[in-house]
């Protein structure tokens, strides 16, 4: 390619980066600007400080984080062995499992809520309204995304051969899962967990319809009372989700870089 062609390509690339970056960052900058407005055009962190001083908000944050963590763990416990099993012992069940996992994406939240209300009315009474029962429905909600991540991870390794190699060396199924499969799915498991946490942090409809005060529900209520604090909390939640996603990208990216370098080294040697 000529120097002029390369320069044109470079300009196009930067233009795309600036347009996309602007599209994504401008709302965040606007949120930061709005949430730090003080009196008479000054800047103030009052709205951010208020986050820590509102007991309802703090409780909602803690509750939502607990729900997110439990959802991620529950999803992994349910999904990793199930999908792995379809790869190892029941390949014919791959499609049905995938179909079941994708269902929540096709069913509107309101329909899901109507369906689960009878069960949740029992659960709510049994747990005296503990919002952690939302974990069950949240696990269902994250299935489509988590399934994709774990399935992609399993496709990237020869799971059947690795399991058979471990079995021939004397490993029982639990060891195969924990010592061989899970460590090699680290990236996929982390990605599925992060997606699940991000989804739970942003989930509003079902919590609201079931009358549980999660972060998004409280932000919504706050927005009606104090728009500045609501925007500050929203921005904080977004930043938290971004940090999580960048964290996983860094971990996975480090692994990929190392792989590329060492493959080159092996080829040279």
């Amino acid at each position: 390619m000529t120097t002029r062609g390369q320069r044109r390509l470079s300009v196009t690339r930067w233009a795309i980066v600036i347009v996309v970056g602007g599209y994504l960052l401008l709302p965040l900058i606007a949120m930061a600007e709005f949430s730090t407005r003080g009196d008479f055009g000054s800047r103030s962190l009052d709205s951010w400080i208020a986050i820590t001083e509102d007991p309802n908000l703090v409780e909602a944050i803690i509750t939502t984080l607990a729900i997110a963590a439990l959802t991620a763990v529950g999803m992994l416990v349910l999904l990793v062995p199930t999908i792995t099993w379809t790869y190892l012992r029941a390949p014919r069940l791959k499609r049905p499992v995938e179909f079941l996992c994708l269902l929540p994406i096709a069913i509107p939240a309101i329909v899901l809520v109507v369906g689960i209300v009878p069960i949740y009315s029992i659960l709510t009474r049994a747990t005296r309204g503990n919002p952690l029962v939302l974990v069950f429905i949240d696990i269902i909600l994250v299935l489509p995304y988590a399934h994709r991540a774990i399935d992609a991870g399993l496709r990237s390794i020869d799971v059947a051969t690795l399991a058979e190699a471990a079995r021939s060396l004397g490993a029982g199924w639990p060891r195969v899962m924990f010592q061989i499969i899970a460590p090699n799915l680290r990236g996929a498991i982390l990605a599925a967990a992060v997606i699940s946490i991000a989804l739970v942090l942003g989930e509003f409809t079902i919590s609201s319809l079931l009358n549980y005060d999660t972060l998004q529900v409280v932000i919504n209520l706050l927005g009606k009372r104090d728009a500045f604090v609501a925007v500050a909390v929203s921005l904080a939640a977004l930043i938290f989700a971004f940090v999580l996603i960048f964290g996983i990208a860094l971990v996975a990216g480090g692994g990929r870089r190392r792989t590329k370098e060492t493959i080159e080294e092996a080829v040279v040697s």
Binding site: T161, A165, A166, S168, L169, R186, A266
Partner: protein, 357 residues
């Protein structure tokens, strides 16, 4: 030649006898194993050879416990293992696909089986280093699988399989994914190590050169059955069935007439192997190296093409009746001929196999 192992090699365990008795295994309408019976003597390396889908890998997987036969028995060292799960069979296996655990270094891979057996850290490290030295990769112990070439990975897989001192070593086309040179080197290395350790070994391959070069005996399988099992030279020179004759080595198919246990081919009478078809019109299976060519003015056969293969040549010749025959000659003889050269064709008088025409 069958190796009898009287003492333990570096694995510390002598070979054991293995018996696969009347194994049947079906996948729907497909009979992968159809009454397979195969016996391995202690310390012997048997190569199972056959086309894709003949059941050789199913047989190996049944022995490993990775596939359950529908009926039949698997006896190893006098103990019935038919219903024993794979992780309790004490067998080392090397797979066709690179099967090293990506999350472990080469040394940890080799030591993994020992870790499962509760061997202390120091002993398993020492043992892993011994095995790495055995396969010539001592310096690569700290590397991860993605830092190793395909040949190195298969060597490590071999070391890992041997580290647990298996009763039986199972090799499932371990060289298939490697390039020709690495393949040849590793093949020789596998043989060297197997002779050194004396572990009874079942080697599955679809590559006849590999099977003939490695096996004490070679078993040829077709449609889930063992067609013939014999030392390589016997299998090649005295095939028991038409399938074996055609599958092992290159073969010319020449029509001739059988009478009195001999067949008339290119004006000669050649004795037939037991099991051959006849009397009457049959198709004789003749090895290219059994065909002799002599340039002779006025001869009625003509060279069609000459293929130079380094130390030897393959010469394609048209017989007077229009049939084509391939002869294998030395490079000097082959290159002295060219398309159109008139040649006299003769066939070695050693017994050959014939099938119904």
């Amino acid at each position: 030649m069958t190796i009898s192992t009287t003492g333990a090699g570096p694995t510390g365990r002598a070979g054991v006898a293995v018996q696969l008795l009347d194994l049947h295994r079906s996948y729907g309408a497909v009979h992968a194993l159809d009454g397979l019976t195969l016996e391995l003597a202690p310390g012997e390396l048997v190569a199972l050879l056959g086309p894709s889908g003949c059941g050789k890998t199913t047989a190996l997987r049944a022995l490993a416990g990775l596939d359950d036969p529908d009926t039949g028995r698997i006896v190893v060292d006098g103990r019935d293992l038919t219903n024993v799960s794979a992780n309790h069979r004490d067998m080392g296996m090397v797979f066709q696909a690179y099967s090293l655990f990506p999350n472990m270094t080469a040394r940890d891979n080799v030591a993994y089986g020992l870790r499962l057996r509760g061997v202390d850290t120091q002993s398993r490290r020492r043992r892993a280093d011994e095995m790495l030295e055995l396969v010539g990769l001592s310096a690569q112990g700290g590397r991860y699988p993605y830092q190793l070439s395909g040949g190195q990975q298969q060597r490590i897989a071999l070391a890992r399989a041997l580290a647990i001192q298996p009763k039986v070593l199972l090799l499932d086309e371990p060289l298939s994914a490697l390039d020709a040179k690495v393949r040849r080197n590793l093949r020789e290395e596998i043989r060297r190590i197997q002779i050194a350790i004396g572990t009874t070994t079942l080697f599955v391959t679809h590559d006849q050169e590999e099977a003939l070069a490695l096996g004490d005996r070679v078993g040829v399988m077709a449609a889930g059955r063992l067609e013939q099992i014999a030392p390589p030279a016997e299998l090649y020179d005295r095939p028991a069935t038409a399938f074996v004759a055609e599958f092992v080595g290159l073969t010319n198919r020449l029509e001739g007439t059988v009478s009195d246990g001999t067949i008339e081919l290119v004006g000669q009478r050649i004795p037939l192997l037991a099991g051959s078809a006849g009397p009457g019109r049959v198709t004789a299976l003749v090895r290219p190296e059994s065909v002799r060519l002599a340039p002779e003015a006025g001869a009625t056969s003509h060279v069609i093409a000459v293929s130079f293969l380094g130390s030897l040549c393959r010469v394609q010749v048209a017989l007077p009746d229009g049939a084509l025959v391939v002869a294998q000659t030395s490079a000097a003889e082959g290159t002295a001929m060219s398309p159109g050269t008139a040649v006299r064709v003769t066939i070695d008088p050693s017994p050959i196999f014939a099938t119904p025409a």
